[in-house]
Symmetry: C2
Subunit: 309 residues, 2 copies
């Protein structure tokens, strides 16, 4: 019998309980799953960074922390965490992100906002170019970025992708390093940010980066708020150098009502809905990692504490 | 030397002249391409239904009419037309349609309008289902409908398609006949119309068809205005039985400024921009059909005068 502590946010427990139990059973694991245990009796910790558990010291026999979120910046620096930490990678999260990114890239590509907001009886056809003639960039080619890059390439877009390390993705031109970043920024009529939040990526979209993008480019950020220097972006939006931005993530969430992003006419704020972890598929990832740990196999998606993701 | 008459709309001649000449040359054809010939000297007629040519009687030696448009309802009933008529099928038109249809299906799927028009500082996350749990229908599985159905299936949607005759498309559940139509209508949380305008399809979306769709369904029409009984749709929209419609084509175009569709809050009018024939790729289709005709091979995309498409 394994003692598995659900230490995600209490509000999500009703949604996760049954799918987790089903996934553990399917993986052939005999699990006692609870929201409370004496800390020294816990074998595995299912976690999200908004958990009440912030000190891992008392969990003396725990073997791994299994994160429910793709983002780990809220836990990776925790000095009390000495055991392996696994990020969440699961089909539902990836699929939702692909759908959201394709939707907003197509929306910008076709200029759909003008139709939604301009129903004034004026018949003024404008034909956008084909996707084959539209240059899209993606920063970040992890599980989410790579899946989005592939999907956009299948939709015929000219996709350039950038990641810290070299990647190979069918139909996507990939770059790495500082010079590669400048190339992708210069390429991107529409730029999608899917980098993790790390000390290296903080403010990667600053005034200099924005100046390297084509005039009138569009920016889509479903990654992390810390990637953007907000003042620099607001200045570029006000000057029209960046024509429009759709922002799903922010340094402070919920984004405060007085934040200039809400009031900037060429910004669309979405309330961190680009994708969410789905209970069924993420429960399968957690059960699989528990099974691997018990079988002495390497964990999937283990966070590298130096790279911070 | 072949005498080819460009009888498309005069406004498009500057755009088509060079691509047509290039395509004929590439097909190895020696062509004299002009906008004026003595009618009895014309071998082929490049055409669009808004042409000044409406009487084909004087074109005594012409071998075929090669339409620049996918839609032929403006010519197929012309009694003076005795020679083969070919519809336009070309990559650019298909690609543009796939992009437009995917964009609007994704827009409805994710409820993007609420974000575009609701930037009031309220942080109210709502998570849509995944595409794998979203049911989309397509009426019409010709070159455009089949390509859109495939693309939506690749985006993970549950796609059901209907056509007059049986079709097989990877990843798409297909239906035909009257019973099949009811099934697809009942399936479609989002319904896309890509049927040709024929006597059989006129008003196919009438009060009865709308009543068979799920409550709160969305309708997307990039096909032909004649497919919809406008009064029935307006009634369904006002009752909220159809939650929203995006309409690109109309019985009268431009849609008159006083038309109720412009003023209905849950309708988005787009000015027949879903896709357009692209000069380069459509010129290749026309040159290929001319080459086939001269070589005694069967023409591509010949219109069946009985089915009217």
């Amino acid at each position: 019998m394994l003692n598995v502590l659900y230490a995600g946010h209490a509000s999500r427990w009703p949604k996760y309980r049954a799918p987790l139990l089903a996934a553990f059973a399917e993986a052939g694991l005999n699990v006692d799953l609870r929201t409370e245990f004496p800390p020294e009796e816990v074998d595995y910790i299912i976690y999200s960074p908004n958990s009440r558990v912030q000190d891992f010291t008392p969990y003396t026999r725990a073997k791994a922390v299994l994160n429910l979120w793709a983002g780990v910046e809220g836990i990776v620096g925790n000095k009390t965490l000495k055991i392996p930490l696994a990020r969440m990678v699961e089909d539902g999260l990836t699929e939702g992100m692909v759908e959201w990114v394709c939707a907003h890239v197509l929306r910008y590509h076709l200029g759909i906002d003008a139709h939604i907001t301009g129903q004034d009886g004026t018949w003024a056809p404008v034909y956008p170019p084909l996707a084959r003639d539209r240059r899209v960039g993606i920063l970040g080619l992890g599980a989410l970025g790579a899946a989005c890059a592939s999907a956009l390439a299948r939709l015929n877009f000219q996709v350039a992708g950038w990641a810290r390390s070299e990647k190979f993705i069918d139909g996507v031109t990939t770059f790495s390093g500082a010079e590669g970043l400048a190339t992708v920024l210069g390429h991107s009529e529409i730029l999608v940010l899917l980098l993790p939040a790390t000390p290296d990526t903080e403010n990667i979209i600053d005034a200099q980066a924005l100046a390297q993008m084509p005039h009138g480019a569009r920016l889509i950020n479903p990654g992390r708020g810390q990637l953007i220097d907000d003042d620099a972006l607001l200045a570029a939006l006000e000057a029209g150098r960046i024509a429009h931005a759709t922002l799903d993530v922010f340094r402070t969430e919920p984004l405060p009502p007085e934040h200039p992003y809400w009031h900037q006419p060429n910004v669309t704020v979405t309330p961190h809905v680009a994708s969410e972890t789905r209970a069924e598929s993420s429960s399968r990832t957690i059960a699989e990692n528990t099974r691997r740990s018990e079988a002495g196999e390497p964990l999937l998606y283990v966070v590298d504490r130096v790279r911070a993701y």
